[in-house]
């Protein structure tokens, strides 16, 4: 009997899992992750859950804006009859296992990562979305993921953007009930000259655990921009891996998070400049209040033959309480000459003079601090071109946390 691609991936991952253990706090890349919160995670996949009406899913779009195409995923599975113009959707369980290359690539990516292997092993369905020519580049494709609040919801999406195609993509996570665990793996493949702007929205859910990764492979003249907008969660740990494989490829990774209570956010990034004349930029800004924790562990690799590289990396953290903590480790490994690279990180608090200035205009200390926190974040929020979604996130997550009535 021939296995499907989905079954082959699952079998391969289960084989690899026999020799890979759950990460421990002593492992360098997991040191700042609250491992205790992950210890008793259920590994089995969540069952299908009831869905709310789609009306509740769709973000409020401004009238003048082009609306979006919505694809809804119910505990990792695409709802039946979902479709989107100029996007072909292929479920791995409908494909015979003749894709040795995909199997090898995905197994290699996940090989040492316990949670990525679990995703391969347990994900009920993987999808390849191929974005074809003809799409309106300003009409976002919105993948809305509805997740169970018990067990683990596994999601796996491979996005392929065809040569010369320009597109916008939104993913949003919605818990059906409070909490739950989401294990999401997204891979992106950009063909020559393809352009993709991807906004990953995570709304506040104080009990949510989200693990996963994003891996990106870019060919000549391609452009990829990723924006992660995150609210509070019990634990959000994400790996970002970018391979710039051909010349003149460009990547921008942007992130902003508001972390309250005992939220935890951990980013591990590897940006690999394999070839000459590629550009990369990372900008991650976090606001931490109460007992929140964040870590940023980012590395830019520039290979020996990757001259003409331009790379920038910045991680800024604003602490609103004396008990919040931010760990940041920006790194560069440069083996080429003739490169332009810079990196930096800050961990700081609000300036007394700034608070005083706003107070002298009649704003309370709390409002002044919240306004300054908003100002700190604005630079990143403004980077997201999907205005309706960006405003919804800002209103629901940031403004709610900062008690600001409206988006500034």
């Amino acid at each position: 009997m021939t296995l499907t691609l989905q079954e082959s991936l699952s079998e391969a991952a289960k084989g690899l899992l026999s020799s890979v253990k759950a990460p421990e706090a002593k492992h360098e890349l997991w040191r700042q992750v609250p491992i205790k919160r992950l210890r008793d995670l259920p590994l089995e996949a969540a069952c299908l859950v009831e869905m709310p009406s789609l009306k509740e899913v769709q973000p409020t779009s401004k009238e003048e804006e082009v609306s979006e195409d919505l694809l809804v995923f119910q505990t990792g599975r695409l709802k039946e009859n979902s479709s989107c113009a100029h996007v072909s959707i292929e479920a791995f369980s409908s494909v015979a296992n003749t894709h040795e290359d995909i199997l090898q690539q995905l197994s290699a990516q996940a090989k040492d990562d316990y949670y990525a292997l679990n995703n391969l092993a347990h994900c009920p369905e993987s999808y390849q979305l191929t974005i074809e020519p003809g799409r309106d580049p300003k009409r976002p494709i919105h993948l809305a993921f509805y997740n169970a609040h018990n067990n683990t919801t596994y999601q796996r999406i491979h996005i392929k953007v065809k040569s010369g195609v320009e597109a916008q993509l939104i993913t949003s996570q919605h818990s059906l009930g409070e909490g739950g665990t989401v294990n999401m793996e997204v891979s992106v493949e950009l063909e020559q000259g393809a352009r993709l702007q991807y906004c990953d929205g995570q709304f506040s859910d104080a009990k949510l655990i989200r693990l996963g990764g994003l891996s990106v492979r870019q060919k000549r003249d391609s452009f990829f921009k990723y924006m992660q907008l995150s609210g509070q969660s019990l634990c959000l740990r994400q790996r970002l891996l970018v391979d710039l494989l051909e010349e003149n490829a460009e990547v921008e990774l942007i992130g902003c998070a508001y972390l309250a209570e005992s939220s935890s956010l951990n980013h591990v990034l590897d940006i690999n400049h394999h070839v000459p004349n590629c550009r990369s930029r990372q900008l991650f800004k976090n606001i931490l209040s109460a007992e929140a924790r964040s870590s940023f562990d980012g590395t830019i690799y520039v290979e020996k033959n990757a001259g003409g590289t331009s790379a920038a990396q910045l991680n800024n953290n604003l602490l609103l309480s004396s008990t919040a903590r931010a760990h940041t480790k920006p790194r560069m490994k440069i083996y080429a000459s003739d490169v332009e690279c810079n990196h930096g990180a800050t961990v700081g608090q609000l300036e007394e003079e700034e608070i005083f200035y706003l107070e002298t205009r009649g704003l309370s200390q709390e409002v002044s601090m919240n306004l300054l926190a908003w100002g700190f974040m604005r630079e990143v929020i403004d980077e997201c071109p999907m205005e309706a979604f960006r405003e919804q996130w800002a209103q629901d997550t940031l403004n709610a946390a900062l008690s600001l009535k409206e988006i500034l």
């Binding site: 200035y357 002298t360 009649g362 704003l363 309370s364 500034l408």
Partner: protein, 246 residues
């Protein structure tokens, strides 16, 4: 309106004001002049309630009530406005929206309804016109990337919107070219009235050519050593401060 009674004030345990006394009535314009380090800026910060400045003795009374331990926000809501010598840059906060928040905070304090963005926009346009400010400043971030003169003009715009009872303008004339100085001074003059008062802190007489003070005071060593009319300012311009300090 304002009584400063023998105030001693320190910052980082260094005493700057050493027995400052001053009385300001509604409708008056006072100019405080003085050499560098005499305590001019400290005076403005003490009046606005800066947390780093501690009043160790003496009292500041505004409209019959002590300002002792009154927070900066509360002072602002009661009608005290400080125009900063170096306005703080606040990136990411939209100028017009910030101004509306401040305006509405005052209205709520007065028991009035908040105004919406549309109505406030009209009010702001009117005030900006007086100060000959380019409307693009509505959408710019608060003081962020402004030139020195633009920041000062924006301070006066805030004053015009908030219509304080007492405005303390700390070296508002510094950083302004001649034309900007005239426009800003005209703006300030328009805000003068029988019910409000103005304290101008300045190094130079030139601002007083445009805004006529009722009283001129010389601050030196943390207290006022001489008071007079506008003639005193002209004298200082000619002779400096040395002759008074001897």
């Amino acid at each position: 309106m304002l009584k400063i009674q023998d105030v001693h004030a320190s910052v980082a345990d260094i005493e700057i004001l050493k027995g400052l006394s001053l009385e300001v009535q509604a409708g008056e314009v006072h100019a405080i002049m003085g050499p560098n380090g005499s305590g001019k800026s400290t005076t403005s910060k003490v009046l606005a309630g800066h947390p780093s400045y501690e009043v160790t003795s003496g009292e500041v009374i505004f409209e019959g009530e002590s300002l002792h331990e009154v927070e900066p926000q509360e002072r602002a809501l009661r009608g005290i406005f400080m125009g900063f010598q170096y306005p703080t840059e606040i990136p990411g906060v939209n100028n017009a929206q910030f101004l509306r928040m401040a305006y509405n905070a005052k209205r709520v304090h007065q028991g009035l309804d908040e105004v919406d963005a549309f109505d406030f926009d009209e009010l702001l346009d009117e005030k900006m016109k007086v100060l000959e400010m380019n409307p693009v400043f509505k959408e710019r971030m608060l003081n962020s990337g402004y030139s020195g003169g633009e920041k000062k003009r924006n301070e006066i715009l805030q004053m015009a919107v908030l219509e304080p009872k007492l405005a303390i303008l700390d070296e508002t004339d510094s950083g302004l070219d001649i034309d900007a100085l005239r426009i800003v001074a005209e703006g300030i003059n328009r805000l003068k009235g029988p019910d409000n008062a103005l304290i101008l802190i300045t190094h130079y007489q030139r601002l007083l050519d445009y805004i006529k003070p009722d009283h001129v005071h010389v601050l030196s060593g943390g207290r006022i050593i001489r008071s007079g009319g506008q003639d005193l300012a002209l004298e200082l311009e000619k002779q400096g401060y040395d002759w008074l300090e001897k």
